[in-house]
Amino acid sequence: MSPPIRSSQVLDLFATAYRESTAALAEFLVKYPELADALVEYAHQLNLQRECAGERSITPEDELWIEAQVSRISAARSAISDPFAAWQPSQYVEARKVLGVPAAVLIAFRDRLVNVASVPLPFLKHLAELLKVGMADLVIFLEGSPRLAANTSYKANAAPGAPAEKADFESILAQAGVPADKVSALLEEDI
């Protein structure tokens, strides 16, 4: 079985070819007919981009917006908080249903066992909404080292330790027993 086409990469390749010649659209439509809608829409956006390039200037409102973004990310980095700290069991149950993942996946996020760079943006955004925090707050929290949950008890002679390495989202999903077709859906990035 051939691997699924990674549409985002095909579109990047298309954009590079379209810079050279608009004939690339016909060529890509033949090669990737299943991506026809996306290719045609992208061609339109590229035409607009080309036509409108350089017509804007930075306004005072733009400068204010830029400063607001810089401040927001700086604030998130300087005061890292645990968005899961106040989460109640009922909220885990709700999040499991909404996100369509087993509890083990949410626990992996809570304990920062997930390599955040491997998580698709739509999933992170959804989780951040459920946690009622900004995307930046969640990402910055997840960048921290893996940890042991404070309320977990262990029966062992040696002191328990957090795993040294994080795992990719795909592997966390597989370990949690998420079926392959569902894994594919959860791994989708919106282009």
């Binding site: 990047d12 004939a23 981009q49 200037s57 930075i58 955040v116 282009i191």
Partner: protein, 266 residues
């Protein structure tokens, strides 16, 4: 000579993403600059200025801050990159006579794209190859970011004036036929006239999706149909017969001529 690290993302055939040679050369040239001098140059947004730094290069240095953990440096570069993002977005307002008209759809789209870009940068800072294409072709990457929200906004704000034909006879309203310029072969020369280009592209966004795709393919010089099975055609791309394509083309051209106020004196 400074070696510029390669991008790690790969195209479907397995070949890695590659920056333009101009970008790689520029990265090498500006790497040795004191940071303040670099920032001074990064503020230049006029592409024809000799000290202009490409947005792809700025993206490269922004992404490099992953490893230096220097907040001030990230913030300074982030400001510069956000300026380039804004400059890469189409304007949402246009001046008509003494009035400035704000296109609500373009304005909403711009806001969403800005928000998505900030989210991507936040996540990219944690690692991964998600934003590799921004170092390859920045403007094209921004254009890609507009695709999905543009589709969603268009669906919400689709023009209410429908150019549907008479449900019983299938005939178009008379004013549409007049705007189309001809009953037999719609006059589509204006599609390729640079005078109309910018307005045309904006108006294409307001067409029905099935008309829009036909016009975009026409603009890329794709034939409507062909008996030669090896020739790419609109008909094959959308899986419809030649007559359907022709009808959509006719209706789209009529709508565009009307929007551009062409043929009003006919």
């Amino acid at each position: 000579m400074v070696a510029v690290p390669q991008l790690t993302k790969t195209y479907p055939a397995g070949t890695p993403y590659r920056r333009m040679s101009e970008v790689e050369d520029e990265i090498v040239r500006v790497t040795e600059l004191p940071f303040e001098d670099f920032l001074e140059r990064a503020r230049i947004t006029n592409r024809s200025h000799p000290d202009f730094i490409r947005p792809e290069t700025l993206m490269h240095f922004l992404r490099r801050t992953r490893s230096d953990n220097n907040e001030q440096r990230f913030n300074a570069l982030f400001r510069m990159v956000l300026r380039r993002l804004i400059l890469a977005l189409p304007r949402s307002e246009r001046v008509v006579g003494e009035n400035t008209i704000v296109d609500g759809m373009a304005s909403d789209l711009g806001d969403i794209v800005r928000g998505r870009f900030v989210e991507l940068v936040t996540l990219d800072r944690a690692g991964g190859d998600r934003m590799d294409f921004y170092e390859v072709h920045f403007d094209e990457a921004v254009a890609k970011l507009r695709m999905r929200p543009a589709k969603q906004i268009r669906a919400r704000t689709r023009r209410t004036e429908m150019l549907a034909g008479d449900p019983e006879t299938g005939e178009l309203p008379e004013y549409v036929e007049r705007a189309a310029g001809s009953f037999d072969e719609p006059d589509d020369a204006f599609l390729f006239d640079p005078i109309f280009r910018k307005r045309l592209l904006q108006e294409i966004d307001r067409l029905k999706p099935e008309q829009k795709e036909v016009i975009i393919m026409l603009l890329a010089n794709i034939q409507t149909h062909s008996d030669d099975p090896t020739v790419p055609t609109i008909s094959r791309a959308i899986g419809r017969d030649a007559k359907t394509v022709w009808n959509r083309r006719r209706d789209a051209i009529a709508a565009l001529r009307k929007a551009l106020r062409l043929g009003e004196n006919k």
